[in-house]
């Protein structure tokens, strides 16, 4: 280790610390500790003169460790690290003792607070002995991006990146671009044509040489880390086995979308048995064909639209699929405009009109004289075939909540607003790219509020409905957000990897593999040939889970080593 020369600086913080903790007592005790060559007390250590003091002492006294007893490290660790760096000392050779937020500000007894401050300072001095100079690493950032899924989210993201001049591999499982949006006629609430929305995207896409479209293709393997992924994609071009291509990308955007709920699972609705009970997607097809009609070819006199099919239900999926209420209202509009004499009945639980323009849309829907019937959550209207004497094809019984009555309404055509659910291959996709899915199969974001498009695996982003049911504006927003994040990374050129990460000692690792599954970032990989695990520094976030769990003690948590922590324990208990 060489000769340790520790400098201890006790901040008074004006009177913030000094009015309860006696800084001189702390300074005097610190000065007596082994290897402490200088201990000072000063009014404001974070001020320029305070920092200059540290810099000067490093240069003139040859300090190789610095302890600052002051405010919380969350406040000024960066400041004092910068001061050390300016003095020529590695910034990781500095530690702080929190004698303000966690001492002078919370205790009234001067004697005990000072004793505590002394203990905390001693702990910091003990720790700093074991701290090591750490340097960050840099890695390359490949400017290519892999986009999985060519729905509205995938297309938007691909275009965003390609227009900025970056290469994109757009991988689509089916033989067509457009995803679920290609199956839709008009979109709510402004009744734009989905085809127009998509056509605009697709034209730009075709013109752009940066985008390589791979249809009938699936991701087979992804390895590496942010900036340095290797992706293998298999394309089904009629021959078996599928043709595989491997290429490098820096980032991945997962935009694999959703699939609709299978309406036949709700037996009360007779989907699959009653010919004129159809799903929303089937109705969209009808709209595109230009004719709204029953199976027998007649224009329906009574149309019922049932909300929350497979959603908000204890039996199927508990969540709300977000888009269906407004889509149902869209249908009411379209039916009324195509068949002005028809009666449209909207059978719903709640009307979720949360977005821009949606409440207005709701209002105008009632103005076109749609009948609204409310039913209870976890109940189901029952659809049955009508008798020949009834003037309609089917009858729907509903326990109507607002009137409190059980009503029966006629229906020639019933549209089931099927909810969104995770695709059956969602878990496989998640596994391939090392992200997680929640209990409903939706991919999990890095932080639900503050980081909705990133995931816990650096370099893997999620956009659109694969993360949770959402509408087009939100899907597009997320796609652009993910693209934006990636462009920012590419602009930086290189990845800076913080010097604090876990390290496996290859001489001590026995290959027990206790660690590999513990890492939420998949940063600790097992090398089957060497029979050892190792950490990918770029992927490691330094949480320390593997360090604590390793039964051989073969993993070192840089800057938070066992030795340092045990030294702190000794320091506070001395």
């Amino acid at each position: 280790m060489g000769q340790l020369k520790i400098g201890v600086y006790v901040c008074n913080c004006g009177t913030n610390i000094a009015h309860i903790v006696d800084p001189d007592a702390v300074r005097e005790t610190a000065a007596q500790l082994p290897d402490v060559v200088i201990a000072r007390s000063y009014r404001y250590m974070c001020s320029n003169p305070g920092q200059e003091m540290i810099i000067k002492d490093i240069q003139e006294l040859g300090l190789n460790r610095v302890v600052v007893s002051a405010c919380s490290p969350r406040m000024h660790e960066r400041t004092f690290r910068a001061a050390c760096k300016a003095g020529g000392l590695n910034p990781y050779l500095c530690d702080m003792a929190n004698i303000r937020e966690q001492c002078s500000w919370v205790h009234a007894d001067r004697l005990m607070a000072t004793e505590k401050a002394v203990g905390l300072t001693r702990a910091a001095v003990n720790r700093v002995r074991w701290q090591e100079p750490l340097d960050g690493l840099t890695a390359e950032m490949c400017a290519s991006t892999l986009v999985l899924g060519a729905g509205i989210a995938g297309l938007t993201a691909a275009l965003e990146l390609a227009l900025a001049g970056h290469p994109v591999y757009l991988v689509e499982k089916t033989d067509r671009l457009g995803g679920n949006l290609a199956r839709v006629d008009l979109t709510a609430p402004y009744l734009d044509s989905a085809r127009d929305l998509l056509t605009e995207r697709l034209e730009h896409l075709r013109e752009n040489p940066n985008i390589k479209v791979m249809l009938n293709s699936e991701l087979k393997n992804l390895s590496g880390f942010i900036g340095n992924f290797s992706a293998t994609v298999g394309t089904h071009n009629g021959h078996e086995p599928p043709e595989e291509k491997t290429f490098h990308v820096g980032n991945v955007i997962v935009a694999t979308g959703y699939r609709e709920f299978d309406a036949s699972r709700v037996t009360h609705y007779g989907y699959g048995k009653l010919p004129d009970v159809i799903t929303s997607f089937e109705f969209e097809q009808m709209l595109r064909s230009g004719r709204i009609q029953t199976k027998s070819g007649r224009a329906p006199q009574y149309v019922a639209i049932i909300h929350c099919v497979g959603s908000r239900s204890r039996e199927f999926h508990g969540y709300c699929s977000r888009v269906c209420c407004m889509t149902a209202l869209k249908y009411a509009h379209e039916i009324k405009s195509a068949l002005p004499e028809s009666h449209v009945c909207d059978v719903y639980i709640d009307m979720h009109a949360f977005g821009k323009g949606c409440e207005d849309f709701y209002r105008t829907s009632s103005e076109v004289k749609t009948l609204f019937l409310m039913y209870g959550k976890n109940e189901h209207p029952v659809i049955r075939k009508a008798d020949p004497k009834d003037d309609c094809g089917m009858l729907i019984e509903v326990d109507e909540k607002l009137s409190g009555e059980r009503v029966e309404i006629p229906a020639d055509l019933v549209i089931l607003m099927v909810g969104m659910e995770a695709r059956p291959d969602a878990l496989e996709v998640a596994r391939l790219v090392n992200i997680s899915a929640d209990k409903d199969g939706w991919f999990i974001e890095s932080h639900p509020k503050l980081d909705p498009v990133a995931t816990t695996t650096d370099g893997i982003y999620i956009a659109g409905t694969c993360a949770a049911p959402k509408d087009i504006p939100d899907s597009v927003a997320q796609a652009r957000a993910a693209a934006g994040r990636i462009m920012a990374r590419i602009a930086k050129g290189k990845i800076e990897i913080d010097g604090v990460f876990a390290e496996v000692d290859g001489d001590r690792c026995s290959g027990c593999r206790m660690c590999n599954e513990l890492c939420p970032y998949s940063a600790i990989e097992f090398d089957a040939d060497k029979r050892r695990s190792h950490v990918i520094p770029a992927a490691c976030k330094a949480c320390g889970a593997c360090v604590a769990a390793c039964p051989s003690g073969a993993i070192k948590g840089r800057h938070f080593t066992d030795q340092q922590i045990c030294a702190q324990i000794e320091g506070v208990l001395a």
Binding site: S72, P73, R74, N98, R100, E101, Q102, C103, W105, V106, H107, A108, D109, M112, A113, E115, K116, G119, L120, A123, S436, T456, L518, P520, K541, A542, C543, G544, A545, V547, A548, A549, G557, F560, D562, I565, C566, Q568, I569, E570, V572, L573
Partner: protein, 144 residues
């Protein structure tokens, strides 16, 4: 003669340590018996630290992490959640009283809660009397 308990606290940087700082900025008072050691995540807390603290003279050990589901590192606190009951079982075999070692969840916004937890724990540990582990281990070296 009353003694002053010495409690070692292991707090995770993102939630509980920040919560403790918030208690500070809010000037919420609590007993000065606790000495806090910062780790990045409660998952870093090796049960070895807990027994080490007890062996070195701690009268109590407090572990704080983020509430389940809120861990900054996604699942770190679940590791802490799994280790703790088994550690408790072990400590029971060693005859360490239940109230001496505690694990709880404190979020970044729970300054008052942190102060309450520390106050409660300090009183419980005070009621138990000093831990004689450290002294006993030293005595073992001299007396047979």
């Amino acid at each position: 003669m009353s003694y002053e308990p010495k409690i070692v606290g292991f707090l995770c940087n993102w939630c509980s340590y920040t919560g403790a700082d918030l208690a500070g900025t809010s000037r919420i008072q609590y007993p000065p018996n606790i000495r806090i050691i910062r780790v990045m995540c409660s998952a870093r807390i090796d049960p070895t630290f807990v027994v080490d603290a007890l062996a070195k003279g701690a009268d109590g050990v407090l572990i704080c992490g983020c509430h389940p589901g809120d861990c900054h590192y996604s699942e770190g606190n679940y590791k802490a959640m799994r280790r703790f009951p088994l550690l408790k079982k072990l400590l029971q075999s060693y005859g360490v009283e239940d109230d001496r070692v505690r694990q709880t969840w404190v979020s970044a916004s729970e300054g008052q809660r942190f102060a309450d937890v520390v106050t409660d724990m300090t009183e419980r540990v005070r009621a138990l009397g000093p831990s004689r582990i450290h002294a006993a281990l030293l005595a073992d070296q001299r007396e047979r």
